[in-house]
Point group: C2
Chain length 494, copies 2
């Protein structure tokens, strides 16, 4: 439907993006926030047509898409508020000490944008992690221009959202090429974008293979650039004995729902459940089985994802000592993602790295350990994860410090007695984690702290007060919290 952008078109788009960036970077935080709010309004104004389009392209149900658009609007306005509030600038001011030997100069530090950011839309969040999604909101808040590589699986939806952004830019007289929208289904389009010398950062949400490729391209450039890729995760769940024996059935219901939510198409889907052989674990398993067997499979996002799900799941099931313990109702549709739970003993799991890999979709593997030692071994063997969940009583936690330590080494977010799906958009969220969950564990993709991926500190030494950015001026005209001479304060500087 949409033709791939040519190399010349990409070059022009990036050059224009850089020119618009040079204007936009000087806009105030309030102006940036106003633009983000204007985009949110335009997104709302897209009305039912946008939802209908996304339903056609993604097979996601209406209610989910309405919720996701609302979330996208919440991100845009929430990050706009954070942008204006300016605490992400980490302002530090040290005032001069003239009689120090040598004299200490006045130094003031804030953040400035990196430059044009390329954002790769994800397939599973056509709104919240695509065209006007979290990465776009963070980049605009940071003062960057944005170039979207539309996901080909929902290119029309992406086009509609891009048009909404363009309308917001035009109505509010922002630089015309602050936002660009590039179509492309090939390798070449992505490569041309990431390797363009004027591109200064990349945001990506998707597969390990895709994210790793962009990361490598970013690092191999003459001028390497930060590529923040949020990639796969199996999100292990550790079931501890006392808690499980108290409420195995309830926990099983909760996790059967979490595994199959949105046809399992979430990066926080619990793909691995680790328990210790016991009656309680049997009870858990029996309840998961009955819950899963009642589920009528829904359509996955697109044929490619459904095919990959089927192949990876079948491949896992064919590994030795892996047994199928539950699957959902039969569905003839080849797009359907059949909920599937498999089971394996911990020894086999520890020896077979294939079983550690993500199967994107409604699939989870139950790993049965002989004892806590084996569970600790599993926790220590796993690669980096976005999340880890622990189902435990206070006794369970206190008695298993070694497991707690291993889990904290492993992931970006740990959840006690809850499911990993459902990623709150708030300041305390860490949606990231050690490689291969992301390419840089020091940053988050969700929450306004994600703005920091696209900004860098700059210090002004001995600078003229009138020419300083507002957040650094003596008068504190933005009335923000600042660290002055090592103390947080909203005070002016005399």
């Amino acid at each position: 439907m949409f033709k791939d952008a040519t190399i010349n078109e990409i070059d022009l788009a990036v050059i224009q993006s850089y020119q618009s960036f040079q204007q936009y970077r000087k806009y105030s935080l309030k102006q940036r926030a106003d633009l983000m709010r204007a985009i949110a309004i335009e997104l709302e104004l897209c009305g039912d047509e946008l939802i209908q389009n996304a339903m056609n392209e993604t097979n996601l149900p209406e209610s989910r898409l309405r919720g996701e658009r609302a979330r996208t609007i919440f991100q845009l306005t929430g990050y706009a508020d954070a942008c204006e509030k300016a605490d992400w600038l980490d302002v530090r001011i040290d005032t001069a000490i003239a009689d120090k030997v040598p004299p200490k100069p006045d130094i003031r530090k804030t953040m400035i944008p990196l430059g044009p950011v390329v954002v790769f839309g994800s397939s599973n969040f056509p709104f919240a992690y695509s065209t006007a999604g979290g990465d776009t909101a963070c980049a605009l808040a940071a003062g960057c221009s944005v170039i979207i590589k539309a996901h080909p699986a929902h290119a029309q939806t992406s086009e509609m959202v891009a048009n909404a952004i363009h309308r917001a830019i035009k109505k509010n007289n922002f630089p015309e090429h602050l936002f660009a929208h590039i179509h492309g289904a090939t390798f070449e389009v992505g490569k041309a974008l990431v390797t363009h010398p004027l591109v200064k950062a990349v945001g990506f949400t998707g597969s390990f293979a895709g994210g790793k490729q962009l990361f490598d391209w970013g690092n191999q450039r003459k001028e390497p650039i930060p590529v923040f890729a949020e990639m796969g995760s199996v999100n292990p769940v550790f079931l501890l004995n006392e808690k499980l024996s108290q409420s195995a059935t309830e926990i099983a219901k909760q996790f059967a729902a979490s595994i199959t939510l949105g046809v399992g198409q979430f990066c926080t889907n619990p793909g691995l459940i680790i328990g210790i052989k016991s009656d309680a674990l049997n009870q858990f398993q029996t309840k998961v089985q009955s819950e899963i067997e009642d589920i009528v499979p829904a359509k996955m996002l697109h044929a490619g994802i459904a095919k990959a799900f089927f192949e990876k799941k079948e491949n896992a099931l064919q590994q030795s000592n892996v047994s199928l313990i539950a699957k959902g109702k039969f569905a003839a549709d080849e797009l359907s993602g059949e909920p599937t739970i498999a089971k394996v003993d911990a020894k086999t799991f520890l020896q077979n790295p294939l079983l550690h890999q993500e199967v994107f979709g409604p699939y989870s593997l139950l790993v049965e350990c002989d004892d806590m030692n084996e569970m600790n071994e599993v926790a220590n063997k796993l690669e980096g994860q976005l999340t880890a969940s622990i189902i435990a009583t206070e006794n369970d936690l206190n008695e298993n410090i070694e497991l707690m330590d291993a889990i904290q080494n492993l992931c970006g977010r740990i959840i006690l007695n809850g499911v990993p799906t459902g990623v709150e958009v708030c300041r305390s969220m860490m949606h990231g984690g050690p490689y291969p969950a992301t390419t840089d564990a020091r940053f988050t993709a969700v929450g306004a702290d994600g703005i920091k991926r696209f900004a860098r500190p700059i210090a002004y030494q001995n600078w003229n007060n009138d020419l300083l950015p507002d957040e650094l001026k003596n008068e504190n005209p933005l009335n923000i919290w600042r660290m002055i001479n090592n103390e947080w304060t909203k005070n002016k500087i005399d």
Copy 2:
């Protein structure tokens, strides 16, 4: 004198470092700070012997080395204070909202250490950016273990400092292998350290070639790790007309001193001075000449650096249209770094990238522009820098916004009417900058914010208050500033 560590020795050192890390990461912020202060005390106790040793190995004068040790102690104790104060943890707490649909869980975010950090000691700062230097202090504050690759040019000094650190560890009963010291003059030692699977981050201060190699190794690992390399910089100085015409002589004196300070062996040495043809610029040049010609060359750090300085300087001088305008007094010693100022027209400079490269030592190139357009062109053509300096009146600044914009795009710190040498150790310092000045412009190597290079956020969802890290507990036992529900406060949570 010291043999290179073997691959087996390196492997053992890293494994032991990892084991000690697993203990140390659970130590409180206060305990970490106490260790850093104990190291500072041991460093002081090394007394004159350490200074004498460093003088022998580096040719640096006694006063400089005493000052540098004092600075190193200030870094250790200053970062210890910052560590304990905990604001670098960027604590964010969002409390639960039970009646939200779906219910919003309690989420609390803090920072945890990355793991064992390899630090490559620099040649030009045997104390402040070596064994017990800024990177070591940042890594220990973050909760990481540290493995030092001693700089072979001051291996004995490094050994003495390492012993001081070991004494502090032993006296205070910290994990024995929290700090390791590896000797090595070869490529292989560095590679074995950076590519070891248990190493989780790297800090480096030195040449572009060295830093870039470590960065590539770090990225090419199965599990890529952050390599923060602070590399070369020419630190351009822009002389604007009104200011120069007011005080050309004074400015010339200031820069002649800055260029030759410490035999020019600072990463912030002003290696490029850009002015516009005028009587004032001639006056500036004349004064620089007379200042430089009076300088008796001092010995450089070691034969390798002296040789590289000589070769790079001669190579620059042999480029077409480059003329020598001043050099220091003659010195027969082949270790001497002869202060040298060259001059070139802007057109030649723009066309010859070799002239943009750092000549590490007491060398600076004066670039003569026809007008402001040419100066802007130069500013736009330069690669990433640690610093840029502007010599300007308020009129000069207001009339040259384009230049101001270009300079802010270029560097991590901008200095008005001052010299770039002299890097204050304070919270507002940004010692970093766009590539190739560093490998990641989002972090600083100087100041307590440098701790963030070696830590990553982790979120605790629905966690048990008693088991949370102190900084996240309801009672706020550390009495620190925390962002709770988007507002900064020291309040407890009820």
